[in-house]
């Protein structure tokens, strides 16, 4: 279990202080895939670098299985870091070493016998699907392949935790998919706790179980991905969950109508034509302003933005109607929510 306790980090230079991370409290259970998402500059990288103490927190502490990292000596901390592997946006392979030697790198640091390290490295490259690239140099590999080597390297010392800082941000969507699948397989196979830092909701949706939303250094919302997705509360969460264009629709919306956001769980709600039924049963006409579907954790979620005219309590009735429907959650979206 990883616990962040009132973790803060500020950077001070000559004329000002930047509070990059502010009083973050998080608990991440063993075996979880935990997403930390936020806009650029929200403090994600700083937060993740505090988790392995590459950055010493200004205040607060990180506990891994109850052990406080800030109480460790430099040497003990180096030992501990072998349990907390990390992969990066830019892969950070050593360019003068081939794949095998790159995967051997952390084992060299740990003083594992070279013959043993090479054997383990070959197995790991096999695991990440690069058994045939053992002698290739990073410059001969695609981005996706380089990230696979980096993952193999991260696994070399048998870590308990894998930190991924924007690990797929430099990759195209198809490769991102493959790398995320690989990370999920590893999470299942080795039971490694994975922390995924990203600015893309799609990454969180596709593999995370839990998510925390970071805004200006603070965790403004956290919970299971499904809960946060279907019912975002904070403005930052809404901005991330609502796809682009969503807010434009709101901006340009007609006066005299209100907006209702309806999220339905595809496995339960797709059989009923809810909007048609509402029109027939209640006589309420809803205009679909925006609609999309997404997959979260293998389940399909649909999300719609309905505009409903503000007359005869239509809006309240529609709200009540959708609230009662099974597998549906809904809420009003304010025009000036942002």
């Amino acid at each position: 279990m990883i616990e962040l306790k009132k973790l803060s980090k500020s950077f001070t230079d000559a004329d000002n202080t930047v509070h990059a991370v502010k009083e973050v409290d998080l608990t991440i259970e063993d075996g979880d895939i935990f997403g930390i998402i936020g806009m650029s500059g929200a403090g994600k990288s700083t937060l993740v670098r505090c988790i392995n103490m590459l950055e010493r927190p200004s205040e607060g502490d990180v506990l891994i299985d109850g052990v406080s990292l800030s109480s460790l000596s430099e040497k003990e901390l180096r030992e501990k870091r072998r349990e907390i592997a990390m992969i990066f946006q830019s892969f950070n392979l050593l360019m003068q070493r081939n794949c095998l030697q790159n995967v051997c790198f952390p084992m060299e640091l740990a003083g594992i016998r070279p013959s043993e390290a090479r054997k383990k490295a070959k197995e790991l490259l096999e695991t990440v699907g690069l058994g045939d690239k053992v002698n290739a140099y990073p410059s001969q590999l695609s981005g996706g392949q380089q990230q696979r080597v980096a993952i193999a390297r991260a696994l070399a010392t048998g870590p308990k935790v894998l930190l991924c800082d924007e690990a797929t941000s430099a990759l195209d969507p198809a490769t991102t998919r493959q790398i995320l699948d690989l990370i999920r397989d590893i999470n299942r196979k080795y039971g490694i706790t994975v922390i995924i830092i990203t600015h893309q909701m799609s990454v969180v949706e596709s593999i995370c179980q839990h998510v925390a939303i970071l805004d200006q250094g603070r965790v403004v919302e956290q919970g299971s991905v499904q809960d946060v997705f279907s019912d975002p509360v904070s403005a930052a969460a809404k901005a991330l969950v609502f796809p682009e264009g969503y807010l434009d629709v709101l901006e340009s919306g007609r006066k005299g109508s209100r907006y209702l956001r309806v999220v339905f769980d595809g496995s339960q709600a797709t059989d009923t034509p809810l909007i048609a039924k509402m029109a027939v049963e209640k006589g309420i006409i809803a205009n679909i302003a925006y609609a999309s579907t997404r997959e979260i954790g293998g389940r399909t979620f649909g999300s719609m933005l309905l505009s409903i005219e503000e007359k005869n309590h239509d809006f309240q009735e529609a709200l009540a109607y959708f609230s009662d429907a099974p597998g549906v959650s809904c809420g009003e979206v304010m025009r000036d929510a942002e």
Binding site: I84, F88, S90, L94
Partner: protein, 233 residues
Amino acid sequence: MLNELLSAAERAEACSVIQSTFLTAIWETLYVTIIATFFAVLIGLPLGVILVIGEKDGIRPLPAWLMRLLNFIINVLRSIPFLILMILIFPFTRLIMGTVVGTRASIVPLVMAAFPFVARITESSLREVDAGSIEMARSMGSSTWQIITRVLIPESVPSLIANVTLTLTNILGYSAMSGIIGGGGLGKIAINYGYYRYKYLVMFCAVILLILMVQAFQSAGTALARRCDKRLR
């Protein structure tokens, strides 16, 4: 003048000088250059490493005054003209070699002139190493020493080889100048025969040989650096 230069008598004399002295001179030049380069790298490389890791945001920050002192010494040594440096450090040369003249003694000023240069170019080579690689090494629990020996230096080997080659060719050039304090080699021959005795043909031959040696070292160094670099393929 050309006629005079290439007259039969001149040619015969030059030939005999070349036969009797050039082999030793080439050997002395090589010997001085290689030994001086070796010591310049031995001293300059660690200093270059310190310049990189010891700075404020480096991986092992050192006291600011120490860094300033180090930078000062390097800058001062780099800005003294070689001819003057050679004379300035006579006492030091005598301390180490027991004498200030001769081939062996000329190694000392050469090292003194070259190690600050090596420190600077090592510094610039090491700065080329991707900060991400260092971050990665730190995240895996590398000690400072492991970062230096397993990341910083190995990752900049091609650039270091190119820079050592540059040092070597520089020292080769300076070693010719040390002919003035009796340092042996092709430089001494060029000065003795060309400057003092007006035997220009001998001087030309010596100079051409020096040029060829620089070319050979440079080509070999560049080829080696390229072969070592795994980024290019």
